[in-house]
Symmetry: C2
Subunit: 328 residues, 2 copies
């Protein structure tokens, strides 16, 4: 592997001159630049990224940290992040936090292998995030609240989403509305639940704790929760699932028992994942502005990197997507 030294030698100049020439710094004569470039090509020279980063203490790349790279859910989010990142001439790498403390994500955070990070990964601790963030290493969190000067929060308004979903059900004449929850440690779940309860309250519908069934955001758990609901005999008028995956699991459970959606019972989900449009019946759900969340997050990172100030908290609103799983 040729180094800049080799190039300099071959071009018959000093290393510094070669460096200037290669980096387009207006300090060398055109003739010299050409000589250097020629030598570089002849030697198939490629700069060593690490050495360069080490020296400049800047990587020009930002990381997107996800708990699971393979989740189809992130598609839109990634797109938003990617577009803005490259529009600003930065590089983006995605890394997974699987493995917790030993994960690639943790390593990149701790060792500052990037200039900033966007995090949507439960299994990265608040503590690590707080410790890692600093002026020249801003972090945006998408799934939690962290009180630190260099950590910004971009959130989807889950309370409003939960409220709208529930209100829709109420407006369609439903009163007895069950809530299938996400895991207890999920912020998102808590807020959706909060919205659900508020809507009930505001419309004079009474909430009883038996209406809350616990799930964990997986399809399987939605299936199980629904089975349980069915087994308990007295079925509610409608079910609000804290996410689409669980709703799809629920749909399956209902269909196995020949309970028709929406004739016998109405269903609404949350997220608007791609599948929701295709299941039978197509799922009425709450769309999250994922692309926007991604794009905004990177924007903020660049803002902080540029030394500008920014609000610490952002809330993006959701939108009801009406399809066919709610009785009219």
């Amino acid at each position: 592997m040729a180094t800049i030294k080799d190039v300099a030698k071959r071009a018959g100049v000093a290393v510094s001159t070669a460096s200037y020439a290669l980096n387009g710094i207006q300090k060398v004569s055109p003739a010299t630049v050409e000589k250097v470039q020629k030598a570089a090509i002849e030697l198939n020279y490629q700069k060593n990224g690490f050495a360069s980063d080490l020296k400049r203490t800047k990587t020009n790349t930002i990381a997107l940290i996800l708990s699971d790279l393979s989740g189809p859910y992130y598609s839109e989010l990634i797109k938003g992040v990617q577009e803005v990142t490259s529009a600003n001439g930065y590089d983006l790498i995605a890394c997974s936090s699987i493995g917790g403390e030993l994960s690639t994500a943790t390593k990149f955070l701790k060792e500052k292998r990037v200039d900033g990070a966007i995090i949507l990964a439960h299994n990265i601790s608040d503590d690590l995030i707080k410790k890692s963030a600093r002026k020249d290493f801003p972090i945006v969190v998408l799934d939690r609240e962290i009180d630190s000067e260099f950590v910004l929060e971009v959130q989807v308004d889950n309370i409003q989403g939960g409220y709208v979903a529930t209100e829709h059900l109420i407006n369609k004449g439903h009163r007895n509305i069950a809530y299938v929850s996400g895991p207890y440690n999920s912020h998102d779940n808590e807020k959706r639940f909060h919205g659900y309860k508020s809507a009930m309250l505001d419309h004079g519908v009474s909430y009883q704790s038996r209406l809350k069934i616990s799930g964990d955001f997986t399809r399987e758990s939605g299936y199980r929760a629904t089975k349980m609901l069915i087994a308990q005999q007295n079925l509610p008028d409608a079910v609000f699932y804290a996410n689409d995956e669980m709703a799809i699991g629920g749909l399956q459970a209902f269909s196995e028992r020949n309970i028709r959606i929406p004739e016998d019972i109405s269903v609404v989900g949350f997220d608007d994942i791609q599948l929701s449009e295709y299941v039978a019946p197509p799922l009425t759900t709450i769309r999250q502005p994922k692309y926007e969340a991604g794009a905004l997050s990177v924007h903020l990172i660049f803002q902080l990197l540029a030394g500008e100030k920014a609000e610490r908290h952002y809330s993006l609103s959701t939108e009801l997507v009406e399809r066919k799983s709610v009785k009219n």
Copy 2:
């Protein structure tokens, strides 16, 4: 930012000793190790990853290069790669090749910011791959053939897949079978088509070029191609779409014209994407061993990195998934 020097000073030892202690090299007394660790914690020391990589000329991370990080298609593949990578104590980063020559992917390849790469991205040139690969930087390509000592090819047996799909249609009594193709520059498409033709030939079914309709792997193109097919009046008995996305577009076109699947016409796709199970009717298709492809690829990288020899070409076989889009 504290450096190892600061730690050493605070612990009252030499830098090398601190380095050994921090890296768990059996050369320092337990007492010293403790002293050093204490100092490190007090100073909130974090090693600088670049400096470390620079010195070791090894990053312990491999890159997965995809043309579009946001494609849901890759889910399984990524999982395979991820699991094997972390099982070997390596880190994985995913990066996109959007932007071609200027992309993050290109930069990582050129600057050797990782120890090896797995590539599934049309817009990275063969030339760049050939130039980048070397003994200590093995590359696995998933979507093409490249003749170079340090580039390995892992492929799905598309010919066999195309053959099996077509044969299935023939076995079910179809004779007049259309093929909706992917883009012309796609290796995968070409092989699937090849399989299709072989199966026809082997079963004494004649192929005419009018049976081949061109598409480009997008849902939209499947929709358009199907519209065209319908407009031409004399509908075939069955359509083999070169991928599921197009088949799903086709399903929609048929449904708009009230052409029933599979009563009026049979359909088979290719890929077995998640959606295929949920569309109406559920799509009969060819499953690709994506997880296996990912896992195998990383395995091979590690093998080469360890200096072992490996076959240069691998072919993984596909499998027919029978659902409801083919008439019995």
